[in-house]
Amino acid sequence: MSKDFDAALSDAIELAAGAAHTAGASAARVRGRERTMRKRIIVSTTSFALVAAGAGAAFAVTSHHGGTPRVTAASPSVSASRTPSAGFSPTPTSGPTGLPITTASGTRGSASPLNTPSGPASTGATTSTATASEHWLTASQVLYDSSMNWNAGTPSSCPAGSYEIWQYYAGGCSEHTLPGDPHPAERMDTRVFGAPSVATGDGAWAGTTADQEFYTYASASDAQAAFEYFTNGILGEDSQFAGSTDAITGLAVTSTTTETAHADGAVAIDSRLRDSNGKPAEMNGNPSGASDRHYFFAVRGDIVEMVLITGGPAVSDASGDASYLQTVINALG
């Protein structure tokens, strides 16, 4: 006799609901209140920085290392001095390359993406048109191309909406839409790179990917707040994994997240999971090949750029991060 799917599903859900641990409404309120306070602090700090940046913007645009912040050596902590200056000009102005710099009022340049090879576009997206001052990386410009031999997908653009930065891979437009997200962007442009021939190595991973994503916010202060929120979130995630074990092997797992390079308004981060034998940790629920993640974030004006490379230990070589961070910064136009 056939069994009733609906009944089995209902029973399973109700059993789980009955077994759920209830942290309590007061705990939810405390968590929400604390986050609101942090956001206010970030916004007010950013507002102060904007005032200061506005006073010196003209000088900064022309004298700050040719208009792009210079990358410095790695620092173990995120500096509060990462606020970009050139992008915060209150009126449209010219950047070092002659392209308009994105401003807080949303003025954007008209430079074309560097290339538009064919490839899969994200679900729900349309092919990104040449409306932004930011530049798409070519496959050869993506880190580790010599070993990954990247294939570049078609740049795609989501319609105006509300988009959350994801740190781990680019999904479709709808998958980036998250009601209640503390730092929603108004626009998301994405290009995905795939690695067709990645050698598997010290652990099980495959399908290494790279993503270049541009998130456009309502204002420069929103972009700066989002940049701070996500980079600090990543840099602070190790403690959340303390005492964890690999579900498959049962071995203790250590998360190591390191800032490998930084500049004003830009940072490179290496994040890796290793078990007690030093092997990449493969977690249930963790996208395959995500034991190691290499991030490059940059913010200018109202745009946050993220280049994320996800894979095994092959994507954790940080020796070229300082120079590569400059490439990521330059892609902001």
Binding site: S2, K3, D4, F5, D6, A8, L9, S10, D11, A12, I13, E14, L15, A16, A17, G18, A19, A20, H21, T22, A23, A25, S26, A27, A28, R29, R31, G32, R33, R35, T36, E164, W166, Q167, Y168, Y169, G171, S174, E175, T177, L178, P179, G180, P182, Q240, F241, G243, S244, T245, D246, A247, V253, S255, L273, A281, M283, N284, G285, N286, P287
Partner: protein, 185 residues
Amino acid sequence: MGAELEREFDAFYASTHRRVVGQIYAMTGSLHEAEDCTQEAFARAWQQWPKLAGRHGNPEAWVRTVAARLAVSSWRKAVNRLTAHRREYRDSEVSGMSPDHLAVVSALRKISADQRMAIVLYHYAGLSVEEIAIETSSTQSSVKARLARGRRALAPHLTEFADSLAPEATKNSRAARPQISRREI
């Protein structure tokens, strides 16, 4: 926020929290992850509670949507991927689960997140295709496709439930069933 808002939020939490956790559990297969995402969704709800309670009309749907999206978000997965496994064994041992229950939960984990959400909202929460489309910011045709493909994807893993997963049987059984989302857990 005022004491009245707190009381209102607390009452909302008390009446809906477990129900949302149960539904997110069906979408994730992990009780801990469901608890964490649901709690996070309630925290976000509190951040904008005056607006949510006053204008949204259905804050439970809002919380469920946020929790479901958090559950499939790789950000949350990354945060949870290790901590969740601290309770791995507890997750797999929800008291009273029969082999049929476990088979259903396990099978749901084998289909896509979009399909899973549509299946749970339709088969358990009793939402119509139109309501699911609104809640998931999708079109009705997308929801229908997710339901159809989800059932097809589940079928090989749930051969004993084949009849009740057939589109016609599902339609009939659903029509005859009360809206179980009205039930309190």
